[in-house]
């Protein structure tokens, strides 16, 4: 119960800050709504292209490289979140924890090396 209250006490200001930020943005948009002109015209709403009409919808295929980077990112970002508790309690646990973490990162480094070797980091 005690820790639950502490959680609310800590994080309610964050929520409130978000609300205040939302109000700020919304005021700007409402101001634009009040001040800016609006007119119905068909040609105006075509998407931007260098002088000609755009070809097809924009939601087409995207280069494969981006997905490879995203997968690598997920691996390493989750890893970093795992390391934070280790970094906090590392001094209490001792040498064993250190070598365990070296092992853990070593496995991930192997995966990065594999991706590198296979050319996932090469931008062609």
């Amino acid at each position: 119960m005690e820790s639950e209250t502490a959680l609310y006490v800590n994080y309610l200001p964050v929520l409130l800050g978000g609300v205040v930020g939302f109000i700020l943005v919304f005021t700007a948009l409402i101001g634009a709504r009040l001040l800016a002109p609006f007119s119905e015209e068909n040609q105006k709403s075509t998407t931007y292209e260098c002088g000609m009409l755009p070809i097809r919808r924009a939601s087409t295929n995207i280069g494969m490289r981006f997905y490879l980077y995203a997968i690598l990112f997920i691996v390493f970002d989750v890893e970093v979140i795992f390391i934070f508790p280790w970094a906090m309690s590392f001094l209490n646990v001792g040498v064993f924890a250190y070598w365990l973490m070296v092992l853990f990162i070593g496995v991930l480094a192997l995966s990065l090396g594999y991706a590198w070797k296979k050319g996932a980091l090469q931008w062609r």
Partner: protein, 476 residues
């Protein structure tokens, strides 16, 4: 030469007729000068009095101690608690009033910066390029950003055909709120932080990755090839550089042993050293990676205007585009604040925070980091996308993880070793600098082992004519 000594161009005329601020001030009427000097003397006397109060400890913890607005908040909640109100209402009030005041403070700091920042950046860029910069709107052109904001508000917001209506509407809001929330855990003075979270470092990382979502929404919903390309490039860059940021923050956590931002600042002030001196590689990696994270030069490939128009917000117009631009500036000072808190000692300056309010020291540091950003923008060209990604994955991540393990060993030694702090910390700094330089050198050698790094042959004209020498001879 003609006998007319008047400078030729308007620019050189302006430079010739320019008078310094002191000259202009001495040209004021006598009465104004007397009033100004009386005010100056009064200011100095009041400062001496305040200095006496600080030394004798009369100020500590009083509500009028403006070195730390937290004191006023504590006194306020004491007053509410002792006023005989119903305890439930009193506790709600003591919680709500400081929170609301803090939120207003954060929003006004960000908003005030949005009015000064663009002006400062444009003025500085102009000085770098020997131009004048905005100087027409108000004194020194100070009202330029206000005029820009008013102009943006009057522009029509056009929704492109085929756009996803909800996803098109959300990004300007979704990108702005993290820029404000990121300020929450930053301590401005010992008692003055909006929400001093226990996991402040993790909160910062989480908030900084929210921007990616807004970029993706904007790029996808606009139904424009440029937007989609810009969004993809920005996302790839932002997620790649998030890992160096996290790893360099891990080094900070390993040394200070805390994820609370106020404790990180306290550790630096107690040890009398800034973390940038102990772990310089992590600090520089953080700085470079955050320029990628917030889309500033030299890493602004997400909206490279010479390549993909305006990147992910090509289709946004009016105030919505203005919000995207505002967020860029807001993020720049947010990064400045984080950089100062983690690596530059936060609100402390080797004991000066007893005399000068801590928030002013922090604001100065933020301004200096921002100046560094403007300097970089004026100096460096834009990197290529593959260079950037290669730099993140092949250099920054391996080297910073290796140096993080070194920092772990050092922190365990630091706790057990009973040496004077200047000796142990100095040794750590030396070892870290040596390791960073050595590792960079070795790793670069490994990376470029197949590449010919010798200088390319000079162009044929340069070889024939002798390049710069020939140009000098030709010019006479």
């Amino acid at each position: 030469m003609s006998s007319d000594t008047r400078p030729a161009t308007p620019m050189s005329r302006q430079i010739a007729e320019h008078r310094s601020l002191l000259d202009r001030a001495l040209g004021l009427p006598k009465l104004v000068l007397v009033a100004l000097s009386v005010a100056l003397i009064g200011f100095v006397i009041s400062q001496i009095l305040i200095g006496y109060m600080v030394v004798s400890g009369q100020l500590d913890g009083k509500w009028y101690d403006i070195r730390d607005f937290g004191n006023a908040m504590v006194s306020l909640s004491d007053a509410i608690n002792s006023s005989g109100m119903d305890s439930r209402i009193a506790s709600t009030l003591t919680y709500l009033i400081p929170t609301l005041l803090g939120a207003t403070g954060i929003v006004s700091v960000v908003g005030g910066w949005l009015l000064i920042g663009p002006w400062a950046e444009r003025r500085l860029l102009a000085k770098f390029q020997i131009r004048q910069g905005p100087n027409r709107t108000g004194p020194f052109g100070l009202l330029q950003s206000l005029a820009d904001a008013l102009k943006l508000m009057q522009k029509e917001i056009i929704i492109p055909r085929g756009a996803d209506r909800f996803l098109y509407f959300a990004p300007p809001i979704a990108v702005f709120i993290p820029a404000i929330l990121g300020w929450a855990p930053i301590p401005w003075s010992p008692k003055m932080s909006y929400a001093d979270l226990d996991v402040g470092v993790l909160f910062v990382i989480a908030i900084s990755s929210l921007g990616v979502l807004a970029v993706f929404m904007a790029g996808w919903a606009s139904n424009n090839h440029y937007s989609l390309l810009g969004a993809m490039r920005t996302i790839a860059m932002m997620i790649s550089y998030e890992i160096p940021i996290s790893v360099s923050l891990l080094a900070v956590v390993l040394l200070t042993g805390s994820t609370k931002l106020s404790e990180i600042v306290m550790w630096q002030s107690e040890q009398g050293v800034w973390l940038i001196m102990l772990i310089p590689f992590a600090a520089l990696a953080f700085l470079f990676a955050s320029t990628a994270e917030i889309n500033r030069t030299p890493n602004d490939i997400g909206e490279a205007e010479s390549e993909i128009v305006a990147g992910f917000y090509t289709e946004y117009s009016g105030m919505k585009a203005g919000l995207f631009m505002a967020v860029e500036l807001g993020n720049a000072i947010l990064v400045g604040a984080l950089m100062s808190t983690f690596f530059l000692g936060g609100y402390t300056f080797f004991g000066l925070e007893t005399w000068i309010p801590g928030y002013l020291i922090l604001a100065t540091k933020i301004g200096l980091v921002y100046f560094l950003f403007v300097w970089i923008r004026a100096t460096l060209p834009r990197f290529r996308l593959d260079q950037l990604m290669g730099f993140a994955w092949k250099f920054l991540i391996p080297v910073s993880i290796a140096l993080m393990f070194l920092t772990a060993i050092e922190s365990s030694i630091l706790v057990r070793w009973d040496a004077p702090s200047f000796l142990s910390l100095g040794l750590i700094a030396l070892v870290n600098v040596a390791a960073a330089v050595g590792l960079t050198f070795v790793w670069m050698r490994v990376l470029f082992r197949d590449t010919d790094l010798s200088a390319p042959p000079a162009p044929i004209l340069t070889r024939k004519m002798g390049g710069l020498q020939a140009a000098k001879v030709l010019r006479g």
